[in-house]
Structures are given as structure tokens and as C-alpha cells.
Amino acid sequence: MMSFMELFQLATHVGLHHFLLFSAILFAVGLFGLLTKKGLIPLLMCVELMLNAVNINLVAFNHYMPVYDYSGQLMAIFSVAVAASEIAVGVALAFRIYRDHGTVNVDDLDEMKG
């Protein structure tokens, strides 16, 4: 069993594990929101949270692993570009759905149900 002092030492030496845990929790919060929200725009926000958690992982790996260049951060930047285009198209879709159906509640958009 670890003593309190050892645990304190482990917790206060910020390393890769801290960032992995943090991003896992952030991803889980986004997932929880994705499963429980009804509005279209809150759903988009939760997707953004999850994408952000993934970016944190990429940047943390690039900082803490023995690498020789910035490939990890570059991947994070590409991921940011993809997320930005995703949110632009998502917002346009939400606006279109609102204009055609008068609602952004995903439970009311069930006309393709058999």
C-alpha cells in the first residue's frame, strides 16, 4: 500500500498520465451530454468537447514522449481544422432544420421513422 506521501509525490509530478486522465474525463462529460441532451445545438457543443479532449491527448503525447519533431501538434492542428469545418456545416444544418421544421428538438424530427 502506498503511503500518503508517495501518493502526494505521484499526484504533484504532472506527467502524461495526468493529461490522459483529464482528457478521458472531458471526453466522458461530452459523451454523457451527447446521450442526454435533446437540443441540436447542445449536441454540437458536446461533440466539440469530445474533439477537444482528443486534441489534448495529441499535444500531451507530443510533449511527454521521446519524439524528435512536432508531428503530434500538427495532427492536433489538422484536427482543429476538421472540427471547425464540422461545426460550420453542423450549424448550417441546424439552421436549415429549424427553418424547415420549426424546431431543433431531435425528438420531434422523427418523420423518417417507419
Partner: protein, 192 residues
């Protein structure tokens, strides 16, 4: 007076001995990490639990800025700037614009959630997922060896225009397509 001075001396000596026992720079690093990570998680929960969707959007922006501060704390300065510009700026503005375009009469309850059963199921699923991820994150034998690779922006530019030039161009085309798609979707194509 002498007694007070003696007290101060003892206090200073105690602080120095504490500073010798603990690695102060790493303690400061840990403080910064826990401060911004905790704030980010708090604001992320705010995104879900605020009743008003405008408050959720504000909370989301705060989460993005806390994550940018975390990037800065591990020396990813360019990434932090990108995070603030793209997420804290563009994405936040887009989401607020979408909220205003799809406005309802009563903004106080504009962020509805599902019922209790759905919440419980989501909590169980998320808990399972989180425990799996946490087990992987904690038990993985990564050795943290912080790197110093020099300035981020020149290094990124070199990579972007040499080895990763194809993904760079594809990302540019993707952004163009997304822009055109968003305009066509929002404005409506001419139907014959």
C-alpha cells in the same frame, strides 16, 4: 520586537526547508495543471447542466480557454494560440449565432434534457467507458520525459510545408468545401 523577529526568522527557515524538501517548480506546475483542469471540467459540466443554452455556450467558451491555458502550460504555445483563436473565437461565435438563429420564445428552458431513466443509462455507459479509459491511462507504462524541441511555430511550419504538404492541401480544400456547403445549406440551393 526581538521575539517577533525570531518568529519571522523561524517562519522563513521553515519555508526554505519546505522548498528544499519539495520540488517547488514541479509543485507550481501541478498547481497550474490542477487549477485549469478543474476549471475546464467544471465548465464542461456547466455546458450540460445549465438550463439556458446561452449560458451553456458561455461555459463552453470558458472550457476552451482553460484548455488553451493547459496547452500553454506544457509549452505548446502555438497550439494554445490556435485554440483561443479557432475555438474561443470562431466556434464560440458560430454556436452563439446558431442559438440566436434558432431562438425560441422562452430561453430559460432552452437546453432540455431527457428523463431520469435515460440519465441513469447514460451515466452507467459513460462510467463504464471512463473506467476503461482511466485504467488504460493509469496502467500504461509511459515514461514521461518532457521534450524541448525549440520554438513550435517554425518547427510546425517546416513540417507542414515539407513532409505533411499533402494533408495541408487537403485540409485547405476541406475548409473550402465546408464553407461552400454551409452557405448552400443555409441559403438554400435553387430548385428547379
Amino acid at each position: 520586537m526581538d521575539a517577533l523577529l525570531g518568529q519571522v526568522h523561524a517562519l522563513v527557515a521553515w519555508a526554505f526547508s519546505l522548498a528544499n524538501d519539495y520540488d517547488v517548480p514541479s509543485l507550481i506546475e501541478a498547481g497550474v495543471f490542477f487549477l485549469f483542469a478543474g476549471l475546464a471540467l467544471l465548465f464542461a459540466c456547466g455546458v450540460i447542466f445549465f438550463r439556458n443554452v446561452v449560458h451553456s455556450a458561455l461555459s463552453l467558451t470558458a472550457t476552451f480557454i482553460c484548455v488553451a491555458c493547459l496547452y500553454l502550460s506544457i509549452g505548446a504555445d502555438f497550439m494554445g494560440a490556435v485554440q483561443i483563436l479557432v475555438y474561443g473565437g470562431a466556434v464560440a461565435v458560430l454556436i452563439v449565432m446558431a442559438i440566436m438563429l434558432t431562438r425560441r420564445d422562452n430561453m430559460a428552458h432552452s437546453n432540455p434534457s431527457r428523463g431520469l431513466f435515460r440519465h441513469a443509462a447514460a451515466a452507467v455507459l459513460t462510467g463504464l467507458f471512463l473506467s476503461g479509459m482511466a485504467a488504460v491511462a493509469i496502467l500504461s507504462p509511459f515514461k514521461s520525459a518532457p521534450q524541448s524541441l525549440g520554438d513550435a511555430a517554425p518547427g510546425l511550419a517546416d513540417l507542414m510545408l515539407s513532409h505533411y504538404v499533402l494533408p495541408f492541401e487537403v485540409a485547405a480544400v476541406l475548409l473550402l468545401i465546408a464553407m461552400i456547403g454551409a452557405i448552400v445549406l443555409a441559403k438554400g440551393a435553387e430548385e428547379r
